[in-house]
Assembly symmetry: C2
Homo-oligomer: 206 residues x 2
């Protein structure tokens, strides 16, 4: 997968108006192209971004407060789209929430470039923190909602700390997708993790 093929951002930035979406997209695509061409993040200035997208610097500053904010949108553009939750059961919702992590793992395996982009973003504490707050944290909150609903509906134990429960589902997928780049990511991994953690690893008694 090439970064340029990545799904486009799903929502407009709060500063953008609908009619300027095409401009925003061309700025973000320009940023992705620079990274694809191997330009280090440190050498990508607002001026260079403006030149690449064929717009004025003011056009960029009207939409983003600076490079950090812009690159969070770049990261968002490389993310697999958030799947809609089926809402049929907690189990199905959890699988839908884990699947994008597997997709992201697959994407960074097939693209050395995407892998390098993540590494560069992580090396900038400001952009990484913004990415965590804007992209990761909302997903985490959604997962907590799904888990609490599961507890209310009797699908989930309520005697274990909800943060621990969250990590029991998310941890195994993250470790495979992000921390161990050689680990396999079979198609049914999200399902396997959710079903096994729900059922437990003790053998069935006869």
């Amino acid at each position: 997968m090439s970064l340029a093929d990545s799904p486009a951002r799903q929502e407009g930035s709060p500063r953008g108006r609908p009619r300027s979406e095409a401009v925003e997209r061309s700025i973000i695509e320009g940023a992705i192209k620079l990274l694809e061409d191997g330009v280090p993040l440190a050498e990508i200035s607002i001026e260079r971004l403006a030149r690449t997208a064929g717009v004025g610097k003011a056009t960029i500053y009207r939409r983003w407060s600076g490079k950090e904010e812009l690159f969070v949108d770049v990261m968002r553009a490389t993310e697999p789209p958030d799947t809609e939750l089926p809402g049929t059961s907690m189990r199905d919702d959890l699988i839908a929430l884990l699947e994008p992590l597997r997709q992201r793992g697959l994407a960074s395996r097939s693209s050395a470039l995407l892998h390098n982009v993540y590494a560069q973003i992580k090396s900038s504490p400001k952009i990484w923190a913004a990415y965590q707050a804007i992209v990761i944290e909302p997903r985490r909150l959604t997962t907590f909602e799904v888990l609490r609903r599961g507890q209310r509906d009797g699908e989930l134990r309520d005697d274990v700390d909800i943060e621990v429960i969250n990590d029991l589902f998310v941890g195994p997928m993250l470790v495979r997708a992000v921390m161990r780049p050689d680990a396999e990511l079979p198609e049914d991994l999200a399902e396997q993790i959710v079903d096994t953690v729900l059922a437990g690893l003790r053998p069935d008694r006869p």
Copy 2:
């Protein structure tokens, strides 16, 4: 915890003879001191290490093939000691295997320095790969042994892929200890993870 207080390496390097252990220790402690003083990894040469420890360069090269190999031993010196497995049950052994990860998480929380050392080591792909192969991989193999024994003894399901089982136990601890530096690491976390994954998260039927 200061790096200098870290547990010393537990085994001699294959190149070292017992009588030279004190020399090796002083070289490793010198390396740790340089990192503690904020000297970037890139600026620490064998020459500087020799000067710091008060030995000749040849003394270092007799023990390590170069900087990479030496810094794997430095990393090892900052690791919590591998606990001996109690061997009473798979459950107890798994808890003993997860606990050092929690300890490492606690150590890098209390020491910004240790945190920086990890970050520097990770930024060197050669040292990081050596660390994975020499420190992490043996632990992983021990865990697989414990899991297989659990399957033979009827403590663990045998219808789930053993690598997935491994990640169900290790993933939640790694995510908390390493990936989310703000996550809590309560004293009974290893126990909570192992017992909950074994029992499963479905509510007990009445």
